[in-house]
Subunit: 644 residues, 2 copies
């Protein structure tokens, strides 16, 4: 087994500084564009006015043009009569003022004489009153925009008004993107049913293409290069000729097939191989023929982070831009995040504002969890040499989402059901600008979050084993003296998700013999509570269930494990089984409700949630998904549980 | 004189609400686009995963694949030997895991046997350890994006990984832009020397085109329509056929040529003519053949504001978007802003962070001052029925600039010199991301701002009449007991700016006879102090100067007034005379310095300013402008003036 070694894993800052130093002064190029086509581009030089604007003295108001010196002495006691044609001209806004006229009196201030032959005025007018003098807005020779300014709509009209028609803007850097790997298939060649076993649809290059555009460059994707060093050499040399910056993805790690670093060493210099960030460690910073060539990791989250931390600063060099400063806020974490000491770790979080406090719910941490990137509002960065951040502590968050959007977010922490996605969709579809952000931590964790005022709503389906009721009992126990309400949700069918045709003929927990591979849910999940309850009722010890320790975080993950034969059976809801074409054996009917504080009911986000929940569209969607009934949906039950 | 009347000037909110109601449900259209081309578009429907990702069980680490059930019982006391080919397979990240293998042990945790024939392990491995299970990232059927989501790079790769190749996105609304007016000339037809007298380069339509694009639409510019109602009718009907929204600019006011409202009434319905915002009052909200047709005012600032307040909300209807919520901050105003009771007034401001406090310096308020729009960082909105906001009070600011940029701004309030633009350009050109934001209020106002900690730097050229020195005397007087420093700037020549050849033969203030039209600077300007000093020295009363009350705010404005014959002479600096090809009669040499607090010297923005000030590029630029000497430039003089 031959593996590479990371020669020396470097700190991010040191690696970047060292790299930018080595790249030296970059020859940035500019190109001339028409001002009318310059929106969003960056001025390469300062822009100076060629003309003054206005270009002549013009009337700033509707009224009459007069000769200011002839109005001297007018007063209430001694009104001055002005006659049309002799003493004044009717003028409208924008009309040209020509000598001898040099001032304008507003229409609103005029008193018509009784005979109608003119106006009386009762005060003198200073020169240039109500006149937009030549150059009042823009003076020829004035600097309109400095170098490096990003051009907006208002800049375009100002430049045109000043006679500027073309300007030099910074050329967008061309970023070559080289996907590599024998196992990769171009998305155009992937069968409609999905990649064949062992093959992966190559999608990172399209993310890079988007990131390059988002950061002001032009992406140039190359064909996938198979795992042969000589082909990669060829591809890198071609890209270096054709582009300003080159990305190689992946082969940047230290596995047996990861020869990118060897190729770059052969063609040029490698300054860094491996940086101490997580995800994102396998980065290669190289220079080939004077051009930056960067090896990025294969996992999508690692690739995204490494792009952000290394490719963007290099692009900014070409754009001569300091880049967008990251917005940061402080937020309270909903759960403890542990971290190793060796890396600076980037934990994706969802954000929401609850009771005036910014709340951050950590998302999945896998380097390949691209959905966690889609769902993230920001990153919580845990420094090197820190063991992590405790739940309910404040941490600094680097924002990916706009702060104003976070204020319009309904925070939902608790049990998972796919109807939460449907409700979010219904909220987004309306023009409220509001959205629902759900974090799946199980019913009990949701109620704890509500207790700590870290969520607006906690979806819950907690069975009281004593009386068979749902949710109310545990709320009374957990929230003494507090005003809690239950927003009634759905009744849903829970049961065994099994393969089509139920080949192992599973009917009850008693059928879960040692040959049957079960897939379980995580601790604290209502579904696990239900499963444990069923086992207990039948007197079956947990140890006897094969796969009891094999956990999945959502109903859909359970279903897909069964579909793909990672397990034979798991507990879950009907709609998930149906979505994947699996069979379903009914085991229980349970109440899935939304717990909130009474005081939150008036919040606009909760009102919008109720609107979506009670809508006809939502009922239709439940029908379509199947396995739900919704007789009490949207009803509100106050649980005022005052201590006596 | 026939004028229109605004039938009933409405409040902005009421007018908009009424208009959106009248427009009713808008039939938004969607179009299919390739996911790879969907960056920045808005999802018209929720997007669901077609495949799971990963699509097979794959190795999450470099290491060996094992059968988890066979590792049971391994411990430090009882290590288990694994043999290659029998018990394990070498695997790299991403490799497929096939039965019977169901778990991976990381390379780092392996201990090679002495004989080299395998590894010893000292703990059991649970099923699916270090395995990325099918669907771990994305589960088929899962909602990837809700409706209304704006698509980013990370969304693109997630969709592609889930087998989604095309998606419906909301069609961009087409916005027709009709410029009108006999006096307007298409920018393509304006002579290279500038518009002829009485003619105006039509530039608003290009601003609208940019604003439409900035807000997610497609702009469609039509030819300029002359002031003939029947031609406007034709143009509106055509645009209504071809576009979703139509803008008519201008003719929306109540002047004699403003017939837009009549045309729209004839073709359809006019709901509003005139709203109580300033600038921006002359707005027409109409509906023609079911399509929104909006008349916007002619002045650029009014046009911009009215677009923002009325066209953007209508565009958001088509995009089914709540739009970007405006970011707001609170800031302390540097000067009093008075306002009429009848209008909601939008005052443009420049922002900066001084001593941890957000400072807002009001800019020019003219409706045609497009440069004030270019320079603005935000709007201070003064409500209807308010008389204004006092200096040093806090006010709410609606942001146009990113908050992080404001933190990287050097605030400069005080005397004007075009070298401030040059210094800003040099700061922007570097990659610091910092900029200089200058407000021209005269030397004295700048020092007052510094005293109040409302500016980082106050450029000043205040003459001490007693000893002929500059700046130091007034600083000692104004800042007792405070640590102030003078950053030495330039010596510059002040004199009379006169027409080419000096036809009136002006040499000293004594030559300013009543026939000579002078143009003055505003009160508090160092140049006015100098002029008053020269008059006093010669014993000439101010009253004797024709045009003493005719004021301009900058040296360049004085120069352009002379160039365009609004005046015969004014005082100003050499470089401005030279820029406009005018003659210059030397009157004095003065010291133009930068006053700051000692504690500000260490701020990164001040350090960056000093770098620019002391740079070779700046000296070269001074040489080019002419009229400056810079022997002490960048030197720092401490003025520690402790009270004794």
């Amino acid at each position: 087994m031959k593996r590479n070694l990371y020669l020396n894993v470097q700190d991010k800052e040191a690696a970047l500084e060292n790299y930018l130093d080595a790249l030296g002064e970059i020859q940035t190029e500019s190109e001339m564009v028409s001002v009318t086509e310059s929106l969003g581009r960056t001025a390469a030089e300062a822009v100076f006015a060629r003309w003054s604007s206005p270009s002549y003295n013009s009337c700033a108001m509707d009224g009459i043009a007069v000769v200011s010196s002839r109005t001297k002495g007018a007063s209430e006691k001694n009104p001055l009569l002005l006659r049309e044609g002799e003493d004044y001209l009717d003028v409208d806004t924008g009309d040209m003022i020509l000598p001898p006229y040099d001032a304008v009196i507003m229409a609103e201030e005029l008193i018509e004489t009784e005979s109608g032959d003119g106006y009386e005025i009762i005060s003198a007018v200073p020169p240039f009153a109500n006149v937009r003098a030549v150059g009042e807005d823009i003076v020829a020779g004035e600097m309109i925009l400095p170098s490096g300014h990003e051009i907006r709509a208002v800049d375009i009209s100002a430049m045109l008004s000043a006679g500027v028609r073309t300007i030099p803007v910074r050329k967008k850097p061309a970023v070559g993107i080289i996907p590599t790997g024998d196992e990769m298939t171009d998305i155009a060649d992937v069968p409609d049913t999905g990649p064949e076993d062992g093959r992966i649809a190559e999608t990172n290059s399209w993310m890079f293409d988007g990131l390059v555009r988002e950061n002001g460059g032009i992406g140039k994707r190359y064909d996938i290069v198979p795992d042969r060093p000589e082909l990669l050499e060829e591809a890198v040399l071609r890209a270096v000729r054709e582009c300003d910056i080159v990305i190689v993805n992946a082969g940047s790690s230290a596995g047996r097939d990861d020869y990118t670093v060897h190729v770059l060493r052969k063609l040029g210099t490698v300054l860094t191989h491996g940086v101490s960030i997580k995800p994102g460690k396998p980065v290669i910073l190289g220079i080939v023929k004077g051009k930056p060539v960067i090896g990025l990791p294969g996992y999508s989250v690692s690739a995204y982070l490494a792009f952000r931390e290394f490719v963007v600063p290099v692009m900014n060099r070409f754009l001569l831009s300091g880049g967008r400063a990251e917005e940061k806020i402080r937020a309270k974490l909903t759960k403890t995040v542990m971290s190793g000491l060796k890396y600076e770790e980037y934990v994706r979080v969802k954000l929401g504002l609850v009771d005036g406090e910014m709340i951050a719910a950590p998302l999945g941490r896998g380097a390949g969890a691209s959905m966690s990137l889609v769902k993230a509002d920001g990153f919580c960065v845990i420094p090197k040499n820190s063991e992590g951040i405790m739940a309910h502590e404040e941490a600094e968050i680097r924002l990916l989402e706009k702060p104003e959007q976070i204020g319009r977010t309904l925070v939902v922490i608790g049990s998972h059901d796919i109807i939460l996605d449907v409700l979010n969709d219904l909220m987004m579809e309306s023009q409220s600008g509001m959205r629902l952000s759900s974090t799946h931590m199980g019913s009990m964790s949701g109620l704890i979050a509500l207790k700590r005022r870290e969520t607006h709503i906690a979806p819950s389906h907690l069975l009281c084993e004593e009386d068979g009721t749902y949710n109310e009992a545990v709320i009374r126990e957990m929230f003494p003296g507090e005003k809690i309400v239950l927003i009634k949700g759905v009744r849903r069918r829970q049961g065994f998700i099994v393969k089509k045709g139920n080949p192992l003929n599973i009917r009850t927990v008693a059928d879960l013999t040692p040959e049957v591979r079960y897939i379980n849910r995580q601790k604290g999940a209502g579904t696990r509570v239900l499963f444990d309850y069923l086992l207990k009722k039948e007197g079956i010890p947990k140890m006897q269930i094969t796969g009891y320790e094999h956990e999945a975080a959502t109903h859909m993950s359970v279903a897909v494990a069964v579909q793909k034969d990672n397990a034979d059976v798991g507990m879950g809801i009907y709609s998930c089984a149906r979505t994947l074409g699996l069979d379903f054996v009914d085991a229980a009917s349970e109440e899935y409700d939304f717990v909130t504080r009474e005081e939150y009911l008036d919040l606009p986000v909760v009102q919008e949630f109720l609107r979506a929940l009670r809508s006809r569209e939502f009922l239709a969607k439940l029908e379509e998904l199947g396995g739900y009934t919704a007789e009490e949906i949207g009803e509100i039950r106050k649980i005022h549980n005052f201590l006596s």
